[in-house]
């Protein structure tokens, strides 16, 4: 039985694509056959973050329209076994993303993969609705900032009312909070919402806290999911997040201000 997981948020620029890339990579690293789909029609970006932009031949909408088959469109990751990427279309219009088409592709993917990760576009329009419609679980990516938290709550409402599970009266979509771009020292100072604040407002279980980290930008420059960057806080946080998703009980790291010791300050360690 394949599990479909949507990475969603409502608001743009909060870290959905970064999270999708690292989450899918982490699952595949741990041996699960995983595919990550870019639902952002017209604004393809997952390919760049995964470093496979030059290998895109066919895309999601080509498959929906029957212009290519899955094997032609799926890109096999060069670094991690078991990992495939299905890129979004860069040119086609969003109307092509039909419920029937998406369902057909997902059903075909279910035959070959254990985890299907759907990277949602921002907003609450068709692309975002299609990305979450078939989800069994949802990673709700939120930044500790008012508009992001509000939009996440909105998305939780949509998951609860407009997903296939909601419409069919099945068990609800399982929700996970991913608090991204967290800066503990700013939360401690009181000029940023804290983990507890966001948890209290949204009221869903915390899967992971990803610290704000310059490594995220560096790894996206290089086209390497940050989870593969050894020694990076953000990468380690994504690794923990994947382990927790798979059932490990790990304490949350990077949520308190770290008093940097002399050696650490001298040699870095971020």
């Amino acid at each position: 039985m394949a599990t479909v997981i949507v990475v969603t948020s409502g608001k743009g620029g909060v870290g959905k694509t970064t999270t999708s890339a690292s989450f899918a990579t982490g699952l595949a690293q741990r041996g699960y056959r995983t595919v990550v789909i870019d639902f952002d029609v017209g604004l393809r970006n997952l390919d760049l973050i995964m470093g496979c932009e030059r290998r895109v031949v066919y895309d999601f909408i080509n498959i929906i329209n029957g212009e290519a088959n899955l094997n032609q469109a799926l890109i096999r990751d060069k670094r991690v076994e078991n990992l495939h990427i299905l890129p979004a279309s860069q040119t086609r219009d969003k109307e092509a993303l039909t419920k029937e088409g998406v369902e057909r592709v997902l059903n075909e993917l279910r035959q070959n993969f254990e985890y299907i990760v759907c990277d949602s576009p921002a907003g609450i329009e068709r692309g975002a609705l299609m990305a979450l419609y078939f989800a069994d679980e949802a990673l709700v990516v939120t930044n500790p900032e008012v508009s992001s938290v509000r939009d996440s709550d909105r998305i939780l409402g949509i998951l609860a009312s407009r997903s296939r599970r909601a419409e069919q009266g099945e068990a609800p979509v399982k929700e996970h909070l991913v608090l991204a771009r967290y800066a503990p020292e700013r939360a401690d100072r009181g000029d940023m919402l804290s983990v507890e604040d966001v948890l209290e407002i949204l009221g869903i279980p915390l899967l992971g806290v990803i610290p704000e980290s310059p490594t995220v930008l560096q790894s996206s420059n290089a086209g390497v999911p940050v989870v593969l960057e050894d020694g990076s806080d953000a990468g380690a946080a994504y690794g923990d997040l994947v382990d927790r998703f798979l059932g490990k009980n790990l304490p949350h790291r990077f949520i308190t201000t770290q008093k940097k010791g002399f050696l650490k300050r001298l040699f870095g360690g971020g």
Binding site: E145, R150, D153, R154, E167, G169, G190, D191, D197, I201
Partner: protein, 103 residues
């Protein structure tokens, strides 16, 4: 700006996150309340229905109840209007089943 200000006033930064949290709690509670089981058009529908009914019978806002239920592939819009007392306490129900297309 005496000594007391610094002691008794919370630091401006502290109040920044606290203010954000407070504002969020209010708006999120409000938005959750308005979306619970009821689509956006429900308040407007209720208001217009009331206007129509009022052309014939004197009723007020509290005597009209609009309720939406989901059953399988159907959404059932239930409308209850409590008519005033001339006919002794009659409650008339009107049900409009609406096919949402996946039934």
């Amino acid at each position: 700006m005496g000594l007391f200000d610094n002691i008794f006033r919370p630091s401006p930064n502290k109040s920044s996150a606290a203010l954000a949290k407070e504002r969020l709690q209010i708006i999120v509670a409000h938005e959750r309340g308005s979306r619970r089981g009821s689509p956006d058009y429900l308040p407007a529908l209720k208001k217009e229905l009331l206007e129509v009914v009022r052309k014939y019978v004197p009723v007020d806002q509290s005597q009209i109840k609009v309720h939406l239920d989901r059953e399988g592939g159907y959404e059932v819009l239930e409308l209850n209007i409590t008519l005033p007392d001339e006919e002794p306490q009659s409650r008339r129900g009107l049900e409009i089943p609406r096919n949402t297309g996946q039934g």
